[in-house]
Symmetry: C2
């Protein structure tokens, strides 16, 4: 088996973020649950955009953010996601490719508009996301080239992509191709509402042994396991996946691999601005360490460094060079 060309191949929704400030009263008016992600249709996207404050557009999407983080750490990443042949699609492609990330799916003109996520950032730096999936939900299994998947040491998938049927099939095709090639498969549960929608599907994946590295935050862990107790939740899930990584916001993170359990504190920050992308960038750091063969503690530390960078500014992609921030950790 030759060494794979890519360190990590990320598959996810190709979404441009539209980020605007909002106050708690606005969230209440709009009946939005702070900190969550909900799917909206085009009519609601137009309506909500019409009442939002001015926005800044920055390419996002959970796995896309992770790919951007991996590139910033100096790793070789690829991205699979569907955009339309429109201005936001052109912007998305530019923002991926200019990082040196391989963008493996061409734009299409028969899939509606490129996806956008209307993100409301409250003064407490929490983000509330309203996603119009548009073209992103039109990713198809035929877009997955098994040879490309086999050429990546790690396949990374976002749970959000489980929502629409076609991309779910594409993800399953990628999982099969990765397994056939003997690569590692990493998966993030993405969001508690996402877990509520697909708990059975996620458990099926896990129980079939399709996931080697599972990412969750505390709330998602609770939603998956039905237990609010961290230790109980960790025990329930870590019995089923080789490596479980649970992020705990300002309380740091914990990873469990068999009998090994490592906890780390959060990295200190100067000011909290926008938590969008914290989980995506934590995954980027951890996967960077994993791809380089580091231990759990070092990989968690890289995750914490990347998450700390991204929450200190608007937008879910790093502004500073993460390899430099990592010091000597990545060699």
């Amino acid at each position: 088996m030759t060494a794979p060309r890519l360190d990590v191949l990320c598959i996810g929704n190709a979404i441009v973020d539209v980020i605007a400030d909002a106050d708690d009263a606005f969230l209440a008016d709009q009946s939005l649950t702070k900190g969550s992600m909900r799917l909206i249709d085009e009519d609601e996207a137009v309506r909500l955009y019409g009442v939002m404050r001015p926005g800044r557009e920055i390419s996002g999407g959970s796995a896309g953010n992770t790919a951007a983080g991996l590139a910033s750490f100096g790793l070789k990443a690829g991205f699979i996601g569907q955009v339309a042949s429109d201005e936001l699609g052109d912007i998305y492609r530019h923002d991926v490719e200019s990082l040196g990330v391989d963008f493996l799916v061409p734009a299409r003109d028969d899939v509606g508009a490129t996806a956008r996520c209307l993100i409301l950032v409250t003064p407490d730096a929490q983000r509330t996301m309203n996603t119009f999936l548009g073209a992103a939900q039109r990713l198809e299994a035929r877009d997955i080239d098994p040879a490309r998947v086999a050429d990546a040491a790690i396949l990374y998938l976002e749970g959000y992509l489980w929502d629409p049927a076609e991309p779910r099939a594409a993800m399953q095709a990628a999982i099969a191709a990765s397994r056939d090639a003997g690569r590692k498969i990493a998966f993030t549960l993405s969001d508690t509402f996402c877990v509520d929608r697909h708990r059975d599907g996620f458990w099926a994946l896990i129980n079939m042994g399709k996931i080697d590295i599972l990412f969750a935050n505390e709330a998602e862990l609770a939603a998956m396991t039905g237990s609010d107790d961290l230790d109980t939740g960790l025990a329930a899930l870590s019995a089923k996946v080789a490596t479980l990584v649970v992020t705990r916001s300002e309380h740091g993170a914990v990873a469990v691999r068999g009998a090994e359990r490592v906890s780390i504190p959060a990295e200190p920050i100067e000011r909290l601005v926008d938590t969008t992308g914290a989980g995506d960038l934590f995954a980027a750091g951890f996967l960077a360490g994993e791809a380089r063969g580091l231990g759990l503690e070092e990989s968690l530390k890289l995750g914490a460094i990347a998450a700390a960078e991204v929450i200190q500014h608007y937008g879910a992609r790093p502004e500073k060079n993460l390899k430099a921030l990592a010091g000597g950790l990545l060699g």
Copy 2:
């Protein structure tokens, strides 16, 4: 004469900023003059975008930024500028109207693409701008409704708009309408290269008494007057305009009105991130004071407060509420 409905009507290029980090070597490679604005055609816009790092898209345009600043100070502003019927045009309109600013020109589908400015921000926070004017240069004199212009206490114009012929005619129509209604006309010289291109036209406007309030930075003052000496330059221009405002970056600003000359220091800042919009927001603050009948010192102070806010983050529009930052200055 009834009181005008708008405090300030701003006319300028409707441009979406595409902001990316760059280093000095990249500017040298691309033969770009740091801190300047140059006009580029669509081919160059595509080429340069292709080699730039990932961007964040934020509505900009000099006078548009000033209108956003005025709204943040709680004033009633209007904006005239041309966008296309495309995604960036929709974004631009949203970002203007969601601030409560009246956007007085409909989008068109026969004017090419909405304008964009590729802004390279170097580690010293300087911005180097590459503007594809697209639809913005298709603003026409017929877009100027004299009754709308007459309904604004101050008309504010950006020198950049002098570049393309059609908007220049539109601006001249607006100047005539404002003069007929006995309103004040404010103008910014915008950029040294812009002054080099249009020195004679700008002097003609000034000598014909068409400008009541003139904004310039030190470099533009020197380019207009041919003197590097601040006092000489101030004397040459202040003899011709009722109110001259010259911004001096970290050295503050100075205003001259007849025999009155007032200097103020710059506002202290925590960190300099991106100087884009500093001049535009200074103008917003000064015009806010002027519209409310404040004296030179108070108006300059408002300008300095607004400029200090905008240079501490990416993007040329305020993120904080400027009225709140102004304390009691605006009553």
